[in-house]
């Protein structure tokens, strides 16, 4: 990597920091409304620091050059590390949290995970509550995507950036228009979510925050024990469609908003999402029936947790820690698969799971039939050639393989750190939850956790948000430069 490449990366990371600065500045509205004057200066400091850092980086990296895909990947990997650092400043200044806890909280926010270091979110100032929700709301669609919609640049630079943050689908031929449309849809869905929650009986402030963290499939809550605090089945029922909306690709939302409701059922991902939900949720209900004793109870808690797991939201209504190992296993699998590619959800992504699933069937047919027979393979509504189907299968499998490799790393470290009251399945649950950016917790994540564990989970969240490849590419780049 040459110095010029490095400059291009710095310049763009700088621009991203300016966005953080802007967001912090906008958030000052909240302390003004709630008369939390002490918090104003903290948000100002955050804004100024991020702003200065951004400008300095932009100044250092002042150079003209097209963004290559390599650059884009490095930009998004580095940005997703640096932005949470600046995002942690309000936690330190306002709530007096330790720097590591603040960075953990901030990473969990930006990546849309929802694991938390705060034991009593209801005691927080409104400013911090809103800041947590805002980071999740922006992080859900993506910081890099945000910058694309604001700054226009010609050529393929934008598409590279778009791809480096794990997106690929296009609504319109032009990437700028696509991104702007995504933000519009997102904004609309958020308003809709907030309204639904209001109608279900949630107070206004809670509705705004939960609306933002649910549609972004983030999962932070302003209540101490998440959604369980309300103990209101109507609210739980209202949250389920919001979580599902968050896990559905924007492309499908666009088509449905255009009036083509059938698009929802034609899309492989949204169809599989429904199948997975009924399958996983059904199994979970059966699994939990014995411990809850009532079908209605088992149904209420299991369904909510299944949806929350699969959509990678992480809102919690039950103490998963006490569930049977197999119930945890079901949720672990759902979390691993995650939501649809091109949505706000995390995980390995439904499209890959579907590719593996159809891929195996296809391979099977090929193997058991004589060579002369041509296997016609449909994937969604497309007919794929042998080469294409094979490539799809391989690509999906290799990401899953790397995914599991990084999970093992996390599990290995966390096994040393978790207290003996947590069993192996709890540890696996926690690490999967972090890497898939879910946020469901068995209780291992807490402020008392050893620092190594916090760092490990931060790493897992980071790796999972960017879907691994950009991070390995960045490491390779840096090694080539300095090695």
């Amino acid at each position: 990597m040459s110095w010029n490449d490095f400059k291009i990366i710095l310049r763009n990371v700088g621009s991203l920091l300016l966005i953080v600065s802007l967001l912090a500045l906008v958030s000052i509205a909240v302390p003004l409304v709630f008369r939390e004057y002490g918090a104003i200066y903290a948000m100002l400091v955050t804004s100024v620091l991020a702003g200065i850092a951004g400008l300095v980086l932009k100044f250092i990296g002042k150079i003209d050059g097209e963004i290559q895909l390599t650059h884009a990947m490095a930009i998004s990997s580095i940005a997703w590390l640096v932005i949470p650092l600046f995002g942690s400043i309000p936690f330190i200044l306002i709530e007096g949290m330790s720097p590591l806890n603040s960075v953990f909280e901030s990473t969990s926010g930006w990546t849309g995970t929802g694991l938390t270091m705060i034991t009593a979110p209801s005691q927080l100032t409104h400013t911090i509550q809103f800041w947590r929700s805002l980071t999740q709301w922006i992080g859900g669609v993506g910081v890099v995507v945000l910058i694309i919609s604001i700054i226009t640049r010609p050529g393929t630079s934008m598409y590279h950036l778009y791809r480096a943050e794990g997106r690929e689908e296009k609504i319109f031929p032009r990437i700028m228009t696509t991104v702007r449309m995504i933000w519009w849809i997102y904004f609309l869905l958020t308003i809709l979510s907030i309204l639904i929650l209001l109608v279900a009986g949630m107070p206004l402030w809670d509705s705004i925050n939960h609306g933002m963290t649910t549609i972004s499939t983030g999962g932070f809550s302003v209540k101490d024990s998440s959604i369980a605090s309300y103990d209101n089945s109507l609210i739980e029922l209202a949250l389920i469609p919001i979580m599902v909306m968050g896990a559905i690709p924007f492309l499908v939302h666009y088509k449905v908003l255009k009036g083509n409701v059938g698009a929802f059922f034609k899309d492989v991902q949204s169809r599989s999402l429904l199948i997975l939900l009924s399958l996983g949720g059904g199994l979970l209900v059966a699994e939990n029936f014995l411990s809850y004793g009532w079908w209605s109870e088992a149904f209420r808690y299991s369904m909510f947790q299944a949806v929350s797991g699969l959509t990678c939201t992480g809102l919690q209504t039950a103490t998963v820690h006490t569930w049977a190992p197999n119930a945890k296993l079901i949720i672990i699998l759902l979390m691993l698969i995650g939501g649809a590619a091109g949505s706000t959800a995390g995980g390995i992504k439904i499209v890959r799971a579907a590719a593996m699933f159809t891929g195996i069937g296809w391979w099977y047919k090929k193997l058991s039939l004589p060579h002369e027979v041509v296997v016609v393979q449909k994937f969604g509504d497309k007919v794929l050639s042998d080469d294409e189907m094979g490539a799809q299968l391989n690509e999906a499998a290799i990401i899953s393989f790397l995914w599991v490799l990084f999970l093992f790393m996390g599990i290995f470290v966390m096994l040393h750190i978790a207290s003996p009251s947590y069993y192996v399945d709890d540890v696996i649950f926690e690490v999967v939850s972090a890497q898939s950016n879910v946020g469901l917790s068995t209780g291992i994540t807490s402020p008392d956790m050893m620092w190594v564990g916090k760092l490990m989970l931060i790493f897992n969240m980071w790796v999972g948000r960017l879907e691994i490849i950009p991070i390995i590419v960045t490491f390779k780049l840096l090694l080539r430069r300095f090695g």
Partner: protein, 481 residues
Amino acid sequence: MVLNTLGIILKYLGILMLIPALVGYYYSLHDPAQFPSVMIFIYSFLVTTSVGLMLEYTNRNSDEFRNRESFGIVAFAWLLAAIFGALPFLLSGMQPVDALFESMSGFTTTGATIMTDIESHSKALLFWRCFMQWLGGMGIIMLFLAILPKLAVAGRQLFKAEAPGPTEDKLKPRLKETAKILWMVYVVISAVEFIALLLAGMGVYDSLTHTFTTMACGGFSPRADSIAAFNSPLIEGIIVFFMFVAGANFALHYRLIYVDHRSLLKDGEFKFYSFIVVFTTMALTWTLWRTGTFEEIGTSFRYAIFQVLSIMTTTGYATHDFNTWPDSSRMVLFMLMFIGGCAGSTAGGIKVVRLLLMLKYAYRELFRSLQPKLVRPIRLGDRVVPEDVMNSIFSFIILYILVFMASTFILGELGIDALSAASASIVTLGNIGPGFDLVGPWSNFSTIPDMGKLVLIANMWIGRLEIFTVLVLLIPGFWKE
């Protein structure tokens, strides 16, 4: 056609049962209490061979072999071998499910046992357990390919359906020759190990049975304490060496001796295999020493290297109760359970070559994600690996994990804790043997409910035949004319 071939295989399997009968007869000369075991094996021989003859003569023979038939033959040959191999256990008074478990664990070289008091059984029965593993190690079908001219006609497909690993090694243009050579190499190395163990001070019976189970990567032992019973570093050293040999490709051993003395060093899979062994041994030695499980680093190394090879080659011997080791060490062993030995060895598991190719593929994908138009074939040694081999590897691994999870899930439903359920699933699927907690090296599988045992039996069968061969039977279209 399929039934005819299965009949022939059963016929000879019955005849092989006369060998433990002879062993039993020899020991009954000194100890009359051993005599009933002779009769057990004679009865088993009679039943197996007559069923075999019946199948052979009631069904027509034809030369028409297709993919489908060969999958059927291989899958059912292993199932029938396990069922009839269970007769001696059944006649010795075991429950039917237990007997089948023990027999399947034998032929598939798993080494998981439900026997609670091993040394109370007759010499002949314990010999049969180990002998089954030796037969299953190189492959039942492979044995018949080598000795029966009839089968050799359809050789290629049968060979592929049974052979472990994604790539095939053609030593000779004719398959019969290849099978013969592989069996010869197997017999010769076994003989060498037998002599080495004798010289190291093991008795004839122990040497022979342990040779059988080492070379097959099986793991049964006529001793209740497995290899720990001897407590001899020399014997452990010999067994470590031969486990390492048995976990590598046998075609490679042949080339090493007859073709090229440097072929081992040129082989990518062998290098990676050695690397994993060395690396994990070092890691395990270090963690065991650091956590104070063993006081001295030397002792730590002794137990670490034995356990690494025993698990990685899917043998399943134990010299120490590794279930009591710290979690980090157990985690290392747990990951090794998934890898297994090399393709073309007697070991089970996912196989080193698949892991290696997957890593190479991942490495290439990194380049491809940056330059989508890049053409860059994956190489293994001097051969280019076709893309559809990658398809089969990925499908295999995905299915392997799916079967593993399904089995863990079912065991969990039966009330077994998560770690025991997961390790019991992987050690049977990978044909390893002992796992953790409930099924640890110093305990056995007898505490698992019958339903669970059936699942584990299926695991061993599916795992030994590398999934496709068995799962193909589940496709409805497979049975259509």
